[in-house]
Symmetry: C2
Subunit: 327 residues, 2 copies
């Protein structure tokens, strides 16, 4: 008996989920849902592509819907609505709005008798797990999260809105000396500027004022003004060739002490180095879709986050196999 | 309302737990239990030191008993017996015997209506969590665990049994080039010798045959024969001064791929660098003691491992606080 999975939204993340499901022997892709005209999604043959508005008709044939829309426009509305109909998993990542989103999904999921797991991915997600475990086992200490080296979609979009810019990619880069200080247990206090660099690759419109573009980027509040930012002008070809991917990653560290005199130092570190941010995130979503299915089978309902779910629920193996091979 | 904790066994680990409980505001050390004559344990004043045989009398005043005995002689017998009387947490680390120990604790804990969490620490423990999470989210990949640089008690004990040896400390050392190959996503196949070095510091008896000692160590099956081993003879003073601590640590890595052609590589890494192995392990035990208490309050019973427990149960914060601050 396979777990039947639906994908809602077919962008980078949705197609990542499609690929990830191929490596999950206990799961099956049942249908892809899109708000575009289904005829405009590349034909799949092996799986139906359905209009998002017809999702309700699939209630009996889908066990978990993996929500692959964006956190800004799509998920706040879509995830609660779908949680009435299906078990759902999403990657909602607007940290400040998580409590609000959790409450909305909790209400809808309970009313439908489903499980809704929100904010699944690597941050929020696996990085949140690391922060929680590390803090619980080493309470006398401090947390540090670094991101990168990787492409930030939000910052790339911000550059694209600058006058004279045709296209752009922005890399967030952790500063090695800051990372080293944390690893050495120095417990440094670090400003935004001391933790990350921002590196921008920009295709300018013909005849654009490059000095003005560079100035507009470097002084942009929230996005760049608080960081050391470098701007490289490149051709369209170079951007596509060298900056076409979506790599990312990062580091969560906790540095703490134990002992009667706090004399023993400890450092815990979790890091990711990812060639494809959406494909890796998709793998996390698929593992939590397995958990959503199992939790509902046990009779649970409501909203959950990664912090509420025991790791064994994510694994295809039985508890006995996990104890024998991974413990 | 504090969680009342007992410590069973007062060696390095037991005194580590005593220290760790000081940083847990929601927990209180109720009593220390020892099989020695309680009068021979350094007086504590603030907490009773009780003979292990009197533990049953404390059933009403202890919420969780943290088992701090050894995996070889103590825990296989003690943990099931105590699980009849209390919620228990232990650090049982004989990997091959975990299924058997789990079954014994499960039976006893269910019969007493308690929770028994076994194999808590960093390996098994946090490293098992990393292997499970990494494998679930990146199924197409390979796992690597490296230990060290740190003192292995088992290997140090093995050297002490060699003729002519007065005392010894053995360090397990991960081989940097092997670690780098894994980090680079090369997916190497590594023998025991390629992963770890063994470095021994030995105090010889006066007039002992040092060449024979070195030979006996380096050719010892299971412990040293399969590794590149170096033996340093040192004085008692040097051993105490430079090798008196119990540092340890290690690395869990998973290297895997996603994409239609497995073209995107990903590396997940979790590492620990610990000044004091027993004090860090104690911190993990205390966090899972909190979980044992909460799970039993919910009406659950039986044996659990770290794989069966949602991270939120370990943290002193509420679910709402965790979502707001750590997710």
């Amino acid at each position: 008996m396979s777990i039947n999975v639906g994908i809602m939204g077919y962008g980078n993340l949705g197609s990542g989920v499609e690929l990830a499901l191929r490596t999950a022997e206990d799961m099956r892709l049942a249908a892809i849902f899109t708000r575009r005209n289904p005829a405009n999604v590349p034909p799949h043959g092996y799986v139906p592509v359905v209009g998002a508005n017809d999702a309700a008709k699939w209630q009996d044939s889908i066990d978990v819907m993996i929500m692959c829309g964006g956190s800004y426009n799509d998920l706040p509305e879509q995830t609660p609505r779908m949680a009435e109909l299906f078990n759902v998993v999403d990657s909602f990542d607007t940290h400040a709005k998580i409590p609000e989103h959790f409450a909305a999904v909790d209400k809808a999921a309970k009313s439908g008798g489903h499980i809704g797991i929100i904010s699944v991915g690597w941050d929020p997600g696996l990085f949140s797990l690391a922060r929680t475990y590390f803090g619980a086992v080493l309470p006398d200490g401090a947390d540090y999260t670094f991101w990168g080296r990787g492409v930030s979609q939000g910052h790339s979009d911000a550059i694209r809105r600058v006058k004279g810019v045709k296209d752009a990619k922005q890399y967030t880069v952790p500063i090695e000396s800051a990372l080293s200080a944390v690893r050495n247990g120095e417990n440094p206090t670090l400003t935004a500027r001391q933790k990350h660099l921002r590196e921008c690759f920009v295709v300018a419109e013909e005849g654009a004022d490059k000095a003005a573009i560079e100035h507009d980027i470097k002084t942009m509040p929230n996005y760049f003004a608080d960081y050391d930012t470098t701007v490289h002008f490149v051709s369209r070809e170079e951007l596509d060739k060298n900056h076409g991917g979506l790599p990312h990653g990062g580091f969560v560290l906790r540095s703490g002490a134990t002992g009667a005199e706090h004399e023993h130092k400890h450092v815990a570190e979790f890091s990711l180095k990812l060639d494809s941010n959406p494909e890796f995130t998709a793998g996390v979503l698929v593992a939590y879709a397995r958990a959503a299915y199992r939790l509902q089978k046990e009779g649970q309902s409501g909203a959950k986050t990664v912090l509420d779910i025991a790791p064994a629920y994510l694994a295809a193996q039985t508890g006995e196999e996990l104890r024998r091979t991974l413990l």
